[in-house]
């Protein structure tokens, strides 16, 4: 089950008309789907919409009661393909994944869906992973909406607006036979707030009804000549219908005074930032009452030409606030102005940066620069020519270290990469391709293993050029999430079919861990509604890969190292796959901690391991750090004047995974580490034995004290 449970929050999804919902954006979207009479939902997890999938999974009972089908899709392509149910049937469907990478994976299905057109409303909720906190390449989903003709919603980032955009989106989709994308940025997904609820609405026509009354119509099939008709239909019918709908339903909003020399056109998602910037410039109050007219594009594709030209009327200059690049909106709007021969100066990326998240300071400076050029009278003197220099502060950029994400305390992937580093020390550097998932942290210090990632499930495929082999073998790393997402077909059948001589390591941590611990096919958990416990090695055998090594405890660094060495040096031809399995420690702790606490309380025997370092034995060479990076393994400066360098030290957050001891042994580092097992509720025999042992130790210690000086040098 997922890392975070929404069982409590799911109760809020049952709220009815007249009640107020307070919570996170993601949850509000779920509630809005239920209020809109959605018939099926699905998607694939990934920040920032992972929690949306988790909420849906936790709400499965409620969904079933309403007659809504929930599918935890195998990947984004599967999720997008599921929207096919809305092509022929009047069923509203919604799927969610992250943009732009999820949209990339889904693009085949999305393009076919957009060509066929829809009968029931089809909504794709895209979590736009852009700017601070993003884990992917910086691109825009906007381009996909344009190329396949999806209408793109970008609502103002508050709960009522986001909720409204869900129902607007379904209506727009049905009015125009076109699928709609609802784009929510990272912070909007996690923004909290309140909105007034409506009653949940069961779908008028369910997926079960559809199965009972199947339909087909070859005009919807993407085959010539229908595909040509689809294209004509897109531009001649669906597009004008969308323009009319957007105008009539006033999906875009205009704020501020009617008459002003300047105005700002902005994506809905930029609204709060623009208001705050105007507030700083003395041109808006905190409630959003602005002295500059604002044209808020809650729909960023298509752009409605006459609505925009109306806004520009009598204005000298207009600023376009559009985050990301290329500047599709600005270019389109300038074309509109040009075609209308309008005498309006259009600003945008000339005063705002072409690429980067529009944070508070960026927005304030950009809008100030626009106003300085276009309407300097509106700015106060102080803002026009600031004369108080900012305070001079010492430069900390050389002091403060970067803190990229890394493996958690006790992560089972750490020993895998420690073993790889040891093999690298023996056999030299290898060509290594990585995938998507927590294992990608291994490309950062201290391991620095793997130099490229080509996408989810594509790690071994990224080594395709090296499949023919050579002096050394190529290595690819892929997680269990990536394996089931796309890896089995795109990477492993590719290896098998091409008789690759390469090595692939499947990091199997029992979950789709990087996205929040969702179950996958090979998860060991019992899942009532999903099929789990399907071993990866069985799938590999199924596609004819013979050299497979299953390791069931990754913490055995020596075994890990020997297996990797064997894979790299065996004379056997063909793909060599190591499945390295140990449970994600974050999820394991979450699962085991309550059980352990209960056992302790009930008086059952519990053994809690933790590691420690003998300060006196540690010489402060930090060799262990370079094979670990564990947050609980840190450094400590000693009081001893004889010591120059800080020594290793393990804090109370250690979970006793064993990596420290295993690495110290396998890499022959040092004898400083020890493991202490604290036994709770020991039995009588065990206690007696322990007492004997203590007696013997004390006897020897006393014996030495009688013959030797004890200077109490160290404890």
């Amino acid at each position: 089950m997922a890392e975070r449970s929404f069982k409590a929050e799911v109760q809020h999804l049952k709220l009815g008309a007249g009640e107020t919902f307070t919570g996170e954006g993601i949850l509000a979207i779920t509630k809005a789907l239920l209020e809109s009479g959605v018939g099926y939902v699905g998607g694939y997890q990934g920040a920032p919409i992972s929690h949306l999938m988790d909420v849906l999974a936790d709400a499965e009972e409620l969904l079933t009661d309403l007659g809504v089908r929930f599918e935890a899709n195998a990947n984004e392509a599967a999720a997008a393909a599921m929207l096919a149910a809305s092509v022929h049937y009047p069923i509203r469907g919604a799927v969610t994944f992250k943009g732009s990478v999820g949209v990339n994976v889904a693009s085949d299905a999305l393009a076919n869906l957009a060509s066929s057109g829809v009968t029931g409303g089809a909504l794709v909720i895209v979590g736009e992973d852009y700017g601070e906190g993003s884990s992917i390449m910086q691109e825009r989903t906007h381009a996909f909406a344009m190329k396949s003709q999806f209408w793109l919603l970008d609502p103002r980032p508050n709960l009522p607006s986001i909720v409204k955009s869900v129902s607007d989106g379904f209506d727009l989709s049905e009015a125009t036979n076109t699928p709609v994308m609802l784009m929510v940025r990272i912070r909007s997904c996690h923004v909290t707030g309140s909105f007034e609820c409506r009653d949940n609405r069961p779908p008028a026509f369910t997926v079960k009804d559809a199965l009972a009354n199947p339909r087909s119509d070859f005009a919807r099939v993407v085959l010539p000549p229908m595909s040509y008709q689809h294209e004509q239909d897109k531009v001649k019918n669906r597009w004008p219908a969308a323009e009319a709908f957007i105008r009539n339903r006033q999906l875009n909003e205009v704020f501020g005074p009617e008459k002003a020399p300047v105005g700002i056109v902005l994506q809905g998602g930029m609204y709060n930032g623009v208001i705050r910037a105007l507030h700083h410039l003395g041109l808006a109050d905190i409630y959003g009452n602005s002295r500059i007219p604002l044209y808020v594009l809650n729909v960023t594709y298509p752009l409605v030409a006459d609505e925009f030209l109306d806004f520009c009327k009598d204005k000298q200059s207009v600023l376009v606030v559009e985050e990301g690049q290329p500047e599709f909106i600005e270019n389109q709007l300038s074309a509109y102005l040009y075609r209308a021969r309008a005498d309006v100066r259009l600003h945008g990326k000339d005063v705002l940066p072409m690429a980067c998240e529009y944070t508070g300071a960026v927005m304030r400076d950009g809008i100030a620069a626009f106003l300085k050029a276009a309407a300097p009278d509106l700015l106060s003197d102080a803002l026009r020519a600031p004369n108080t220099p900012p305070p001079a502060l010492p430069d900390l950029s050389k002091t403060v270290p970067i803190r990229p994400p890394g493996f958690c305390t006790g992560c089972p992937e750490r020993p895998i990469f420690a073993a790889m580093k040891l093999v690298e020390q023996e056999l030299g550097k290898h060509q290594i391709a990585a995938d998507i998932g927590c294992h990608l942290f291994a490309s950062l210090p201290p391991f620095e293993i793997g130099g490229a990632t080509m996408g989810y499930g594509l790690g071994p495929a990224a080594n395709g050029a090296f499949d023919g082999g050579g002096e050394k073998r190529s290595v690819a790393i892929i997680g269990d999430g990536g394996f089931w997402h796309n890896g089995l077909s795109s990477s492993f059948t590719n290896m098998a079919f091409n008789k690759s001589d390469g090595v692939a390591i499947v990091v199997d941590n029992y979950y789709s861990a990087a996205t929040g611990g969702q179950d996958v096919m090979s998860s060991r958990a019992q899942n009532r509604t999903k099929s789990t416990k399907n071993p990866i090695s069985k799938a590999l055998a199924g596609i004819g890969i013979g050299w497979v090594r299953q390791i069931d405890r990754t913490y055995d660094v020596a075994k890990m190292r020997d297996t990797i060495r064997e894979a790299l040096t065996t004379p056997e031809k063909g793909p060599k796959v190591i499945v390295a399995s140990s449970e994600c420690m974050l999820n394991r702790q979450r699962r085991e901690k309550p059980l352990r606490a209960a056992a302790m309380k009930e008086g059952r025997r519990v053994d809690v391991p933790r590691f420690g370092v003998d300060e006196e034995v540690c010489t402060g060479d930090h060799a262990c750090m370079r094979l670990s990076g564990c947050p609980s393994l840190s450094l400590k400066k000693l009081e001893d004047p004889l010591r120059d360098d800080p020594v290793a030290s393990i804090d109370v957050t250690c979970v006793g995974c064993g990596n420290c001891g295993e690495v110290a042994d396998a890499a022959i580092l040092c004898p400083s580490f020890y493991r202490a097992d604290v036994v709770h509720n020991a039995g009588r025999l065990e206690t007696l034995l322990a007492r004997w042992r203590e007696g013997w130790r004390n006897y020897l210690i006393r014996r030495r004290a009688a013959r030797q000086l004890d200077l109490g040098v160290a404890e």
Partner: protein, 507 residues
């Protein structure tokens, strides 16, 4: 720190109070955010929180942000992210994160109350350095003093651990204690109660954080740690008398070196015996004659000769693992309660080199030169050994090894270490005082066990070679220092290669 903060002073300026939190994944930043949000909503405010969840939360640095304003007929438009120069309260859950918040412009002297924990969660880049790579908290603290309107700094992590809670609770207490938000203490505590999980420890930690933030600055705990009394010597009467007389000889050394010499003497006597301590003092006294007078050279000699003489061999490790003080120390660290038992497992991995190093010097050297014999020993001994030092067999084994001190002086290892020591001290004795100090300090490069130790020796040798090239120059000491520092920068010695290149280019 203010004893009597003025409440509600921030609400006047803009109507919106902005609170940013910078935390490291796993510190409970999300919980703290939801407490603040709940607090505001329960006390007649409207509030909005945002965060950047996702993969950055896996041990990375993450920002949480809350805005709040008194509820009224109109809903304010809240921003989704903090803006540079526009943050009222900045809470950072770690010292370097405070530095990061200052770098990002979130802390400004006109408005920001900065609440930071002074503890360190070291970044990987700091831990990897073979030398001391820990970033300077003092620099950040100095910048924080300049950047913040008010600075509240304490080790909120230690306070939290002492209360059995997470740092989010002590920071919430500090926020209450700071008076930066217009709510009474009870309202904060109610917010914790309303969240429903781990209430009691959180309230204890809250209280500790509150006191730390509202009390006048207490002396830093580090200051107290410096005054630990010297440990008492115990043992047979005759040996104690001899120890006292040996100790008294230190008084003849320059005053500046006395403390170091005592520490050094303790270390070598503990390592071997009183006779060995006498040798140590003899070496030290002979070098002290070269000291130009400030005692500086003698102090460095006291430090590094002790470290070189008390080398890290198996006997020393065995001794450390069977000390009477060790069991109680580990029990304390593991927070062993009465009625609980503890097992202790050591991870040892002897190689042929270690076995041979215990042989008599002559025989050992012959074996070491014979690869076949080394391979044989490796076959017999080279594997990981898990030894239970709470157990009778494991403890006895190490106890016996630790008792082999009498044998030590005959071993191959001892012969090698003494050869190293003599060659090194000869170089030191022949050098000008300021160069001698740097040559002494090069001993710092030799540390670790097995391969790490071998790498350290090779670095030492290369730095000493480089030193020989520059020794005639006026600025020799400075160059030797630079070479040593380069050698401590990375494991492979890349920086040292570069520094040696530079030295060779002008010599």
């Amino acid at each position: 720190m203010n004893a009597h903060p003025k409440p509600a002073e921030l609400t006047v300026s803009t109507g919106i109070i902005k609170v940013a939190i910078l935390a490291v994944g796993g510190q409970g930043g999300g919980v703290l955010t939801s407490w603040i949000e709940g607090l505001a909503r329960a006390n007649g405010f409207v509030a909005q929180a945002t965060s950047v969840a996702g993969v950055a939360q896996r041990t990375g640095a993450t920002v949480y942000y809350v805005e709040m304003a008194p509820a009224g007929p109109q809903m304010p438009v809240f921003s989704l992210m903090p803006a540079a120069g526009d943050v009222d309260v900045m809470i950072t859950a770690e010292m370097m994160e405070a530095g990061r918040s200052i770098m990002r412009g979130f802390v400004t002297p006109d408005r920001t109350v900065l609440i930071t924990s002074t503890h360190r969660a070291l970044a990987v880049s700091e831990k990897m350095v073979p030398g001391d790579g820990i970033a300077s908290s003092d620099e950040v603290m100095a910048a924080a003093g300049l950047a913040a309107r008010r600075l509240i700094a304490a080790d909120f992590e230690a306070l939290a651990v002492a209360s059995g809670a997470v740092i989010s609770a002590t920071l919430f207490g500090a926020l209450a204690g700071s008076g930066a938000l217009p709510f009474p203490r009870t309202a904060f505590e109610d917010a914790i109660r309303a969240s429903g999980k781990g209430i009691e420890p959180s309230l204890r930690a809250f209280s500790a954080g509150f006191d730390a933030a509202s009390a006048p600055a207490a002396p830093a705990p580090e200051a107290e740690a410096g005054t630990i009394p010297a440990p008492l010597a115990t043992g047979p009467e005759a040996l104690l008398r001899e120890w006292q007389s040996l100790r008294a000889e230190i008084d003849a050394l320059p005053a500046a070196a006395a403390e170091m010499a005592l520490a050094g003497l303790r270390k070598v006597v503990d390592f071997q015996d009183l006779a060995y301590g006498r040798e140590y003092l003899a070496r030290l006294q002979s070098l002290a004659t070269l000291d130009p007078g400030d005692g500086h050279l003698t102090r460095e000699a006291a430090k590094y000769i002790a470290n070189a003489m008390a080398y890290d061999d198996i006997i020393r490790v065995a001794n450390a693992k069977t000390r009477p003080q060790r069991g109680p120390r580990i029990a304390r660290e593991m927070r062993l309660k009465s009625g609980q038992l503890m097992r202790v497992t050591e991870f040892l991995h002897p190689r042929a080199e270690e076995i041979v190093s215990l042989m008599p010097a002559g025989i050992g050297a012959r074996w070491q030169a014979n690869p076949k014999r080394m391979a044989l020993i490796d076959r017999l001994f080279n594997r990981g050994r898990r030894i239970r030092t709470d157990g009778i067999i494991g403890f006895s084994m190490l106890y016996l090894l630790a008792g082999a001190k009498g044998w030590r002086r005959r071993t191959l290892r001892h012969a090698q270490e003494m050869a190293h020591l003599h060659a090194w001290l000869d170089r030191v004795a022949a050098a000008r005082p300021e160069v001698a100090i740097e040559l002494l300090r090069n001993q710092r490069l030799i540390k670790g066990y097995s391969d790490t130790h071998a790498r350290g020796q090779s670095k030492f040798a290369r730095v000493m070679e480089g030193a020989a090239l520059v020794e005639g120059r006026e600025d020799a000491a400075d160059w030797i220092r630079r070479l040593r520092e380069a050698a401590l920068q990375d494991e492979e010695g890349r920086a040292l290669d570069g520094a040696l290149q530079t030295v060779k280019s002008f010599t």
